[in-house]
Symmetry: D3
Subunit: 118 residues, 6 copies
Amino acid sequence: MSDERSFDLDAYTERRQRLNDKILEGGHLGIKRFFNLDTKAYEDGAVDARTKEMLGLVASLVLRCTDCIDYHLVQCRRLGVTDAELQEVFNVALVVGGSIVIPHIRSAVETLESLPDA
Amino acid sequence: MSDERSFDLDAYTERRQRLNDKILEGGHLGIKRFFNLDTKAYEDGAVDARTKEMLGLVASLVLRCTDCIDYHLVQCRRLGVTDAELQEVFNVALVVGGSIVIPHIRSAVETLESLPDA
Amino acid sequence: MSDERSFDLDAYTERRQRLNDKILEGGHLGIKRFFNLDTKAYEDGAVDARTKEMLGLVASLVLRCTDCIDYHLVQCRRLGVTDAELQEVFNVALVVGGSIVIPHIRSAVETLESLPDA
Amino acid sequence: MSDERSFDLDAYTERRQRLNDKILEGGHLGIKRFFNLDTKAYEDGAVDARTKEMLGLVASLVLRCTDCIDYHLVQCRRLGVTDAELQEVFNVALVVGGSIVIPHIRSAVETLESLPDA
Amino acid sequence: MSDERSFDLDAYTERRQRLNDKILEGGHLGIKRFFNLDTKAYEDGAVDARTKEMLGLVASLVLRCTDCIDYHLVQCRRLGVTDAELQEVFNVALVVGGSIVIPHIRSAVETLESLPDA
Amino acid sequence: MSDERSFDLDAYTERRQRLNDKILEGGHLGIKRFFNLDTKAYEDGAVDARTKEMLGLVASLVLRCTDCIDYHLVQCRRLGVTDAELQEVFNVALVVGGSIVIPHIRSAVETLESLPDA
């Protein structure tokens, strides 16, 4: 976390896709099905997709998974989650997860700087 | 987790209050202020209290904190979060956090059995 | 963890089954599918079921999930994992996860005392 | 964490000793050596034992290991760590680890109530 | 962790400050107050600042937060924590948190190489 | 995790060795002994070295330690663990630890691409 970092959405998406493909090429049925469950978990249902992405974001923040945080930030922006709402999510994550979440909030605002506006 | 457990809301609330009071009697200003931040994090704001309780619940589930899960379940019910919505939150927590979350979902449904309906 | 605890396999299994049923009664398709993936992950494949249960046990130990540890101990015993092998798994978990794993190894030997021999 | 709990030092110590003995009876050399390292880590050295117990306590709090917290509380009291110092340790743990540490601070004050004064 | 890394204190401090400012510009009162609590938690009190930084370091090590570890190493050096004391803190973190802490101890000695002597 | 990364085994091994040497130069007996325990934990015993490396891998995956994952992947390949077996280990880690393990599986397949075949 201590190095300068700029988030490049295209490079991020390309690497993610390339390696997910590589994982799925392995042909393990359980892994393939897990990936499907992961995708479906954030689709509209009794809770709408926009709120689910906020749920995914707060979970990723308290578990301190940079890659997951970046993914849900991209989705939140795509679905119109506002900056004020993102700050509320950051605040819940900070209170629940403590100061060790702060480096990931720093990384998150860095990612947001690099994303096109909502 | 392996023992039979029934959730008694009154006993839970009484113990929580008694021990929070005991902690605050210690007089540490930082701890007192943290408790205030914790309370305020779930109040209506750019994100409404109902959604914030779902955020708190999913964070507590993936961090596997039984006491925190019980607290947010009580709040979710109080604010009218439906069973279908709770299941969606459980599902996001399960996908993000994996099967180690399942014992806490078992504990959560046990708690819900003991709570008055929404 | 500080209270005396004795593991009752029948009570454990009954509670687990009753609450799993309760969770699945909720009817969420994602949760149902996750439960299926969870079951299948420990079936014979390129790695045999016996080794997979040792993998599940070490993962549960380092993540410090008492309920999951108990489950995999039962399965390990059922599949003939020896005491000497279990100790090796405990040792890997202890080295990887540190002294915070010790209370769960204490709980594990307590559970093993209560299980019928392999 | 939601059930009433009272800490009984004698029962705690007896169970801990009995199960540690049981673990060591297994005869695994690695586990035995780890237990020795664990004991030695808290002895006087470049950092004194009293401070080391505070280090062990804050680590146990942020990792949320009730059994470990109880152990280090007993040691801290034995070595004369004051209530004001314990509150400072609780505060650092709370800020670093967030509100999910609170149930363990509640449990800690409950344990302290049951311990003889320093 | 697998890439060569050299710690540049000025770049680290500049990035940290720039992104903290960015976070606080968002204007969320809860986040601002949390940052204040975080700062105050390490000030002299019933426990002196030097010991508190060692508490912060051991907590960051067992939670495996590189950015937090670097921060507390800088503070420890600034407050005259000796190499022998740092090694004791590393040892407690290693015993409590296990071998998964080792990559962070490697990163810590790399950071220390780059810091001016105490 | 969001940046392109290629695993260079020689650079990885050199850095690891250089920093381990640096840590051990510090002369702390406890740390030295822990390093010995860590090495011995993966040697042939009641469980063979090959299976122990799979145990180490699954533990590193669910604890999400990139450096540890890379280390155990190298050892698994060296001991002839097949791609089909690695996929089974990935699947257990994924089911136990959830989608937050996925970025580390992506990183693992990237590392495997860079390793000589078994």
